[in-house]
Amino acid sequence: MADFQKWRRSESAQGLFLISPTLGFALLLLAVPLIMVVALSFWTQDYLTLDRTFTTANYQTAWTEPMYQYLMARSLKISIFVTAVTVLVAYPVAYFISFHVAPKRKAMWIFLITIPFWTSYLMRIFLWKVILGYNGVINGTLTGLGIIDEPLSFILYNQNAVVITLAHAWIPFAILPIFVALERVDRSLIEAAEDLGDSGLRRFFRVTLPLSMPGVIAATIIVFIPTIGDYVTPRLVGGPNGLMISNMIELQFKKANNAPLGAALAISAMGIVTFFALVFLWMNRKYVRGPS
């Protein structure tokens, strides 16, 4: 009882009290639907009615049926690819802004990078369709120049198109955390590395990169988690071979009329994402703490 009194007056209790309206709202919008989906995944669809007896059959199907395994693996592969491309492109940009742009212009550069967000994501996807399409900008240019005879077909309606479109969409989100991490790298450490005899490339790999790893890991999490469940991009530019797990989840909920299986697939995907997120967080802790 005394403990409870003490707790009520503590800072954390007051904090909890202050955020409770928002917390309630978030719970309502996030936790409740989530609980419903979890519940749904343990039920069975019986034509138009739901059979609410507990069963793990949906999960068995989700994890054993080759098609679902295959789609899950493809989603993972695509998002790993997107993450790698995004981080690899974002890092040099962030590095350039942090190290080679005059301090008073940095804010402007960061601002310029957000310009793509002034148009909706759908617009940007359609633009990519225009660029990558059969009669699109790239093919038009290449055929016009006589470099190719027939338009390239491998650049739209497949996994490459999904990777390109998603990477383009996420690069700004990856640049920001990497930029912030690079800004926090004490420049005298890099000078110390030079003073101790390291050339430019070696001091990058021994000092700058390790010290900016928290930013790289943050960028990885930010890109990886949403892309694995992306639905719009594969739907619009993926073609039949570029479809991902979320497209299958939609199919189950709608055309296949098997919401419980869709729910089981969704929860399974969430589980996998959670696993990866935990791995990244663990890596981040290692870097933030330094050697023990």
Binding site: D186, L189, E191, A193, E194, D195
Partner: protein, 360 residues
């Protein structure tokens, strides 16, 4: 035979319009403990960084060990630096920090291990090998920075105010340790400091800098005893100044008219910076005496005590001379039987012509 290890000539450094260093000519001898001393913003760090290779010269030349450093990047110079912030790598342990430069040289593992152990011993950090660098105190970080640089056996060790972040006691301890270390390894040390006491106690020679220019380069005794101009004299220790006018010179002597003291003949050698432009006479407070009872002195002058600062072992008096508005300072050791005067008391101040410096 002493040799010059660092040779700077006609060195200029501009930051845009601003001239941070102007016409620096300086020779540093092999194996000496050399200090760059000057007030904040005078260009000490800039000069040190120019030697290390972190600042490009606007003009002039820099030779280390007889080799021109023009176009030689910092990682190829035979110098190492102890940074003011120490710049300890936060993602590495103490031993990894110290091994950093050895690894950059791609030495064999066993050799690296042995050198690191030796360096850790040298700076007294035994048992700290695996300690994370963020779990070190200021003094320990400083030792890591020292070991990390010294383990590479540089020809010159550059230190940028390495002690300014430490508290007084630790600073004094590190001062004597640095001096001991320098003697032991025999490496040339170039120390930047704005603390004149630190420079005087530690250095073989000191360069005094103001506004990007070197005013005087000399040993601590000469710098204190024979400063070459009024600026240096005022910066190093305390100095009383009296207006003076040069009347005539004859042979090795010069005749001057000094405020309050009257017409005097001084040896030319006491015009330490040359006779040209001399307009004041300087005298250190401890060169003056407050005469008691029947005590006499070569010369004496009547004065009035305007302020008394009692320090226990010493008493500092501000006394007003006739025909001089601002009081001058006299410091007296409180030896047995010496009474401490009170404000307003009349005092006889003893002085001698040999303790006067003719300055510009």
């Amino acid at each position: 035979m002493t040799q010059k290890i660092i040779r700077l000539s006609k060195l200029d450094k501009f930051y845009g319009e601003f001239q941070a260093l102007s016409q620096i000519n300086l020779d540093i001898q092999t194996g000496e403990f050399f200090s760059l001393l000057g007030p904040s913003g005078c260009g000490k760090t800039t000069l040190l960084r120019a030697i290390a290779g972190f600042e490009t010269l606007s003009s002039g030349s820099l030779h280390i060990d007889g080799v021109s450093m023009d176009g030689v990047p910092a990682n190829k110079r035979p110098t190492n630096m102890v940074f003011q912030s120490y710049a300890i790598f936060p993602h590495m342990s103490v031993a990894e920090n110290i091994a950093y430069g050895l690894k950059a040289r791609k030495l064999p593992k066993a050799e690296i291990k042995a050198s690191v152990a030796e360096a850790i011993n040298m700076v007294g950090l035994e048992g700290f090998d695996d300690r994370a660098s963020h779990a070190l105190s200021g003094g320990q970080r400083q030792r890591v920075a020292l070991a990390r640089a010294l383990v590479l056996k540089p020809r010159v060790l550059l230190l940028d105010e390495p002690l300014s972040a430490l508290d007084k006691k630790l600073r004094e301890q590190m001062q004597s340790e640095l001096r001991r270390l320098q003697r032991a390894v025999g490496i040339t040390f170039v120390l930047v400091t704005h603390d004149q006491e630190e420079a005087l106690t530690m250095s073989d020679r000191i360069a005094v800098m103001f506004d990007g220019k070197i005013e005087q380069v000399a040993s601590p005794q000469i710098l204190y005893g024979k400063p070459s101009n009024r600026k240096v004299a005022a910066f190093i220790g305390m100095m009383n100044f009296l207006d003076a006018k040069v009347l005539t010179t004859s042979g090795d002597n010069v005749e001057v008219e000094v405020q309050s003291l009257g017409k005097l003949t001084l040896p030319l050698a006491q015009a330490t910076g040359g006779l040209n432009g001399c307009n004041s006479v300087g005298v250190r407070p401890e060169m003056l005496t407050i005469l008691m009872g029947s005590q006499t002195s070569e010369r004496e002058i009547e004065a009035e005590v305007t302020e008394v600062y009692y320090y226990g072992d010493m008493t500092y008096y501000d006394v007003k001379l006739p025909a001089k508005e601002d009081p001058i300072t006299v410091t007296m050791r409180n030896t047995a039987g010496r009474e401490v005067l009170e404000v307003g008391a009349k005092a006889r101040v003893g002085w001698s012509t040999s303790s006067l410096l003719l300055l510009k």
